[in-house]
Assembly symmetry: C2
Homo-oligomer: 318 residues x 2
């Protein structure tokens, strides 16, 4: 399937695996890229030398394009940028920061740059900064989240109307029906996170993968809003956050509770009581751990099937 | 277009106008029904004798099916039910309450019953109570809202998978792209609220209609969560709510601030400072007041156009 995004990134299917801290190393990224989508290494939880290892391993494991996700507020950002350019990573997804700062350097090195936003306002700023495409991520997404709380259904048409560069939809997409829905709204590809957390190749701890599979409707909430809003799976830590917030706790108190290393403890080390577990609302309908290749194949098959349903609508479908 | 919902309700287009307090009287309901959709009289803000007048006026204004929306917690519910049965209203949309209580009486009178929910769990309960269809309404919707905060994109597939009766999608739908997206997820029709608030026939005060047209991205937030969560347009009242909530105010304090008559003051009397203004996130992309007929026609034309785009995807669409 050809869309503006498959053309831009040189991929077969308009399916992109989100770059997620603690969950998406080279094993997942290369598996998704080998399956025809775009795999992304999540650099936000990697020391500079670890990112280099993951890039090199990914290059050995696939000949297809892959990307690195780079949170722009990362403390050792210069080292990450240097490695990405030196190792000729073809595509970078940037997030959490100002796209003006690093886009020119990445573009000058021949790298395709995609920036993640949660509003049409920031989509326009990213376009002005020279990025090649936008990921527009809705309120239902796992992890860090916009203050406007705009959902994917409301966000995608607003962003599509606001910019001329192609838009990738993220947040709430774990099956082919949602993929078709996002593309009906004008997205040229989808970015899928939670579904790939529960994959064989994800570097998430098995305890966390199992928790994602077991998550039911209403099991995630946006928390830490006075710090940086983040969608968390309910667990004893998230309940502590909630209790504090209901009492009106300020950013300092929340920061003290959060401390350091909570996300590693939860998602990578599997401590389901004390760890921070970042996952999307759509975890409610994810019910098994699958190989990444099968996830891509399922998305594609379901998408084609949903499209056929739409084509059949001129006849009675009761 | 034939879907399970158009068949059930006897309408031409799978477009349903939401029954909204202070905004949807007989003028709006009959205009939508005459345009081929389903118009709904919002009984939640009407005294019993007022509802009777609206039903009778609607019957004079249209030969097409129309419905009444009935919040089941309404204090004089018995009188509303009696009027609906006596005047042979063909369809009732119930919300905000237990569908077990009144569904049997309405069904016994030959009335089609549709119940509004915000979770798959309550969709199953409504199905078990004998309703004919479900409206599944996501987090982005205006007015009262579910505690799980599940967005339309995540909610619709979950509800479609949970029940056998047909599902109508609500929340975030104001144009034909979103209509196609909702139906890609498995919905058999859409319910549209905010877009019809800003219609000529809406009984909303012109000040409120203008405020909806001017609303930008991020202009609504879910508030009063410790009472009943409700999506409000930001205004001085909503800012007061927010400030109290950030301080950890309890339900009593919020109830005291809310007082009585706030929604009438805002939406019907046009007091944009002190009134409660209930509207959906999608108000951000609504930019003019239109006749209801034109809104229905636009939705339908945009839907068909979006569907054509999907059909064209086998070729390059850059």
């Amino acid at each position: 399937m050809k869309t503006r995004v498959t053309n831009l990134l040189g991929i077969k299917l308009p399916i992109i695996q989100a770059g997620m801290i603690w969950c998406s190393g080279w094993e997942l990224a290369s598996a998704v890229s080998n399956a025809g989508g775009l795999g992304i290494i999540g650099a936000g939880s990697m020391y500079p030398e670890i990112l280099v290892q993951h890039i090199e391993s990914c290059q050995k494991a696939t000949d297809a394009p892959f990307a690195v996700n780079l949170p722009l507020l990362y403390p050792a950002i210069e080292q990450h940028i240097e490695s990405i350019i030196r190792l000729k990573v073809p595509i970078v997804f940037t997030s959490a920061g100002n796209p003006k700062t690093w886009t020119p350097a990445l573009k000058a090195a021949g790298i395709t740059v995609v920036h993640v936003v949660s509003s049409a306002k920031f989509a326009k700023k990213a376009e002005a900064a020279g990025v090649d495409a936008i990921v527009a991520e809705g309120f239902e997404a796992g992890g860090h989240n916009g203050r406007e709380e705009t959902t994917t259904l409301c966000l995608i048409p607003a962003v599509v109307d606001a910019v001329n560069i192609p838009v990738i939809a993220a947040g709430g997409i774990a099956d082919g029906r949602a993929m078709l829905a996002a593309m009906s709204l004008g997205a040229q590809a989808v970015q899928v996170g939670s579904r790939f957390v529960a994959s064989n190749e994800s570097s998430a701890h098995l305890n966390f993968k199992n928790a994602v599979v077991q998550a039911k409707e209403g099991a995630t909430h946006l928390g830490l809003k006075k710090l940086v809003p983040v969608r968390l799976l309910d667990n004893p830590f998230a309940q502590q956050v909630r209790a504090l917030e209901l009492e009106g706790a300020d950013a300092n108190q929340l920061g003290t509770l959060l401390g350091h290393g909570r996300s590693k403890k939860g998602m990578f080390q599997g401590n389901l009581e004390e760890g921070e577990l970042e996952i999307g609302q759509i975890s409610a309908i994810i019910d098994e751990i699958l190989p990444a290749k099968e996830i891509v194949e399922n998305l594609w098959a379901e998408f084609k099937n949903a499209r056929k349903q739409i084509l059949s609508w001129h006849v009675l479908n009761s």
